[in-house]
Every structure is written in structure tokens, then in C-alpha cells.
């Protein structure tokens, strides 16, 4: 029996690659279509990179969901970085903290079905995304 939840470290850019590969395997296990797999893996890549670069490292908690009617994958990216002072601004296309393109957060939001973000200055950021099959 396969595990239905777990956690991966996000400390380096290599961890970002490993996270992408792990998320790919999970979406395959859930029999996502190739396009849905690619969208979820890409969203995971953006959010994992954010946690490493802007959040100073963190973790990815994953959970395979089954609500009886459908299957899905929920990913939670947690970091203990500086946090985001203005979430509305951060969720605007093209806004960037200066080192990126400003596409990561907003782009990731468009690639998933459910998106939730909590951030507290000085404490960290938690982004939760879900994609259903």
C-alpha cells in the first residue's frame, strides 16, 4: 500500500528538482492526464523555488486526497522566511520582490484548482494548492 501523505525538504535548488520529480510520480499514481500532471508539477516547481529562494528554505507536505467521488493532490509549501507584507500586491501579475519575473505565485495559482496563502511578516509563508483529477 502506498503512502497517502508525506513531507519533503526544500533547502536547496536540488530539492526543487527532487520535489518536481516526486510530484510527477504522485500525479501519475493518481492517473492525472499529461497536461494536468504538467500543470501541477510546474506549479510545485514555482512554489518550491519561492520557499527556497525567498523563504530561506522550508518543506513540502503532500497528501493524496480521495473524497469518495474524486481523487486529488494537495501540496503545502511552508517556509520560515521574512513573509510577505502585502499579499494582494504579491498576487498581482508582474509583481516581483526583485529577483524573479513576478510570475511564480500568480502563475502557480492559475495552474491549480484550489489556492490558499497565509503569510505573516517575520514568521513565514504557507501556500496550499490542490488539483483534482
Amino acid at each position: 500500500m502506498n503512502a497517502t501523505q508525506g513531507e519533503l525538504p526544500l533547502q536547496s535548488q536540488h530539492d526543487v528538482v527532487l520535489a518536481r520529480q516526486a510530484v510527477r510520480r504522485m500525479t501519475q499514481q493518481l492517473a492525472f492526464s499529461l497536461v494536468d500532471q504538467t500543470k501541477m508539477v510546474t506549479a510545485a516547481s514555482e512554489l518550491a523555488r519561492n520557499a527556497v529562494i525567498h523563504g530561506g528554505g522550508g518543506a513540502l507536505a503532500w497528501e493524496l486526497l480521495n473524497n469518495g467521488a474524486r481523487h486529488g493532490l494537495r501540496l503545502t509549501f511552508l517556509d520560515h522566511g521574512p513573509g510577505i507584507a502585502n499579499l494582494d500586491l504579491a498576487l498581482t501579475d508582474g509583481w516581483s520582490s526583485g529577483t524573479g519575473l513576478g510570475m511564480g505565485l500568480t502563475g502557480a495559482r492559475r495552474l491549480v484548482n484550489e489556492f490558499d496563502i497565509e503569510s505573516k511578516v517575520g514568521v513565514g509563508t504557507r501556500v496550499t494548492v490542490t488539483r483534482w483529477k
Partner: protein, 123 residues
């Protein structure tokens, strides 16, 4: 150190990305490729991403920037072989790679390079 190989074929350079690149490797490739263009005086660069299953905003930006740098170095860059699922995802992500010449495969990409070089010669 890990590197993406750059092959020279006459006046063209060919880069085939076959691994899931971490960010530093992508930056290294940009560095290596611009230097290779300057050193070899290549007129065209083909970047084959047919083996890439994910192109996120960082890799996408790296590719777009590299194509722009090639142009400034007097070379044409053509991105070839993008998987359909990657194209769908990139556009949804908000990255449509404006200004980057693309072709379906290496053969068509090469034809596009030849055509654009002839266009340059005619000017």
C-alpha cells in the same frame, strides 16, 4: 561540474537539454552558450527541449533571455521540440515567450535558421 553539452555543426550550435535542470545549471548554460556563440561566431543556435517535461517561469525566462542575447551577438536562436503539455502550461502560467522563434522539431528549426540567415545576407 555538471554541464549541458553544446555541439557545433558548421555555423550552427546545437544544445539538447536532456536533464531536469536545477536553476544554477540553467544559468550556467546561458553563460556557456553566449560564450560559445562569441567564440565560434555561430550564426544560429538550436535549443532542443523535446526531452523537457517541465518548463517553469525560471527556465522559460532563461530560454527567452538566451534567445535575446544570441540576437545581440548576431546569431539567430530557435527553440525546438516543446512538448504540447509544456506549451499549454507555459501559456497558462503567463509566459508565451514573445520574441522567441520556435519550430516543431530540429529539422524544421534548421530550415528556419537557414531561411533567416539568407534573409540577413539579402539585406
Amino acid at each position: 561540474m555538471e554541464r549541458i553539452p553544446i555541439l557545433r555543426m558548421g555555423e550552427y550550435l546545437l544544445v539538447t537539454i536532456q536533464v531536469d535542470m536545477h536553476d544554477q545549471l540553467a544559468v550556467q548554460l546561458q553563460d556557456d552558450l553566449t560564450q560559445a556563440i562569441a567564440r565560434s561566431r555561430a550564426k544560429g543556435v538550436l535549443i532542443d527541449i523535446s526531452a523537457l517535461e517541465v518548463v517553469d517561469s525560471f527556465i522559460g525566462r532563461m530560454i527567452a533571455d538566451t534567445a535575446g542575447m544570441a540576437r545581440i551577438l548576431d546569431a539567430h536562436a530557435v527553440l525546438v521540440g516543446m512538448q504540447p503539455a509544456v506549451a499549454i502550461t507555459l501559456v497558462e502560467l503567463g509566459l508565451s515567450l514573445p520574441g522567441v522563434a520556435t519550430a516543431l522539431n530540429v529539422e524544421r528549426g534548421m530550415a528556419l535558421l537557414r531561411a533567416s540567415l539568407q534573409g540577413d545576407g539579402a539585406r
